[in-house]
Amino acid sequence: MTATAAEIPVHCLPIGVDWRPSPAVETKAPQSDHELMLAVRDGDLDCMGELFERHHGPLFGYLAKLTGNRTAAEDIAQVVFQRMLKYRHTYRDQGSFTAWMYHLARRCASDHFRKSAPAPISVDPSELEHHADESRGADESAASRDDHAVLQRALGRLDRDDREVLLLSRLQELSFAEVAGILECSVGAARVRAHRAMRALRDHYFRIQKEPLT
């Protein structure tokens, strides 16, 4: 028994399928997200793992800021990837994978907010700080008026729609046209909404900075 771990791929085996490493395992040239998703659509589900590795970080970051809750963000991120698998046949040849992913993420987040409607969105400053950075105490952050904490509080005070358009517009991977597509509105309308949200954030941000310490 001399095989090393790296040489032995682990698959969830169906009964009766040969467990031994497949000779088909070979180094492939890096593929674009679009090519990987087309492969997933055509039945090569292993490519979804690569897409997960590439995108789960930014997606989770977006959802964490949107919900103000890490656990909810993880749950929603999982549902997004589940839906990618489920609706892979709807992925279009000319599509942008990132725009499609955030389109699904928006739907999943909406479902989450609808289901958890009785629970208010995190607007308590100390709670937001806790979600934003669990490694430091909320009180400590509030007392030090840490810039990140102030901004998290400002984000938490935005309407959900404003927070959504603002966070989407800040994603480097998305053009405004794609943001508009995700929001299902015109590019002009998306720009106006994003700008309104930025101004609202700015107003909250500077107002919180002037608030007396509690």
Binding site: T2, V10, H11, P14, W19, G57, E74, Q78, A194
Partner: protein, 268 residues
């Protein structure tokens, strides 16, 4: 450029997403308009603060859960394609056979009767064989289905399945595969640990030792990692040495895991 059109595109200007001509036009306007300059400066500061927010990383659970979903979907896909193949085979028209005795059929009524009888009997036997094959395929698909829905069942049920498999008097290949899958992919630490414990009885099998070794670098829970290391030592798996060395030297790994890896290297 007026104030309104300048305001509408300020964020893009801050992000340098505008073409050179529009950007230059806006900057010219902002330089001469105190209101827009204030607006632009405050927006830029806010956006800079927003972009500087530390990115939070998800826990390892997310990866385990999504990878589990992918594996389950792969199983479902195989199940569907298996069904499709079985159904296609069952539904496909039987290829017409060219009977060399066709001429005789025309020439002799007696021969025709014999050939017709032989053909009928052959056809019936073929149909029965096909049905038997189909039943076998259906059985296999049923087992696959059982496996694929395993993750969707409650943790207690999955644990019970693993414990039952562990006490099977004569576990076959299917049971061992199931235990390996549970150890590798179950989302519950408890289920993974019990599956690993159940595999001790089969540590003499190469596939079992290789599976544990392959799962070790993918495992995120220190408890299970330590249990896997103990398993590899108990099984005298010398092929584990390179992986153990990596773990022992990995500063990101849990301290107990590193210590276990060092101890295991000494023992091996």
């Amino acid at each position: 450029m007026n104030c309104q059109s300048c305001l509408d595109r300020m964020a893009e200007l801050a992000d340098e997403k505008l073409d050179a001509q529009t950007a230059a036009s806006m900057r010219e306007h902002i330089a001469g308009c105190p209101g827009c300059r204030r607006e632009f400066d405050s927006l830029r500061r806010t956006l800079a603060a927003l972009d500087a927010l530390p990115s939070v990383a998800p826990s390892h659970r997310l990866r385990a859960r999504v990878m589990g979903d992918i594996e389950t979907e792969k199983l479902t896909l195989r199940r569907h394609s298996g069904w499709a193949t079985a159904i296609r085979e069952a539904a496909a028209p039987r290829p017409r056979r060219r009977h060399p005795w066709a001429t005789l059929l025309l020439q002799s009524l007696g021969a025709c009767a014999l050939v017709a009888l032989g053909f009928t009997v052959g056809e019936r036997a073929a149909t029965q064989r096909q049905l038997a094959e189909l039943r076998t395929k259906v059985d296999t698909m049923g087992q696959l289905f059982e496996q694929s829905v395993l993750q969707k069942r409650a943790t207690g049920d999955r644990l019970e399945t693993v414990l039952t498999a562990a006490t099977a008097s004569k576990p076959d290949e299917r049971v061992i595969d199931g235990l390996i899958n549970s150890m590798a992919f179950d989302t519950s630490v408890n289920v993974r640990l019990n599956a690993l414990n159940a595999l001790y009885l089969h540590a003499d099998q190469d596939v079992v030792r290789a599976s544990v070794l392959a799962c070790l670098p993918r495992e995120s829970n220190p408890l299970v990692q330590v249990a896997m290391i103990d398993f590899l030592v108990a099984a005298r798996e010398h092929g584990a040495a390179p992986e153990l060395r990596k773990l022992a030297a990995n500063d990101q790994a849990d301290a107990d895991v590193r210590e276990s890896a060092r101890r295991a290297l000494d023992q091996l």
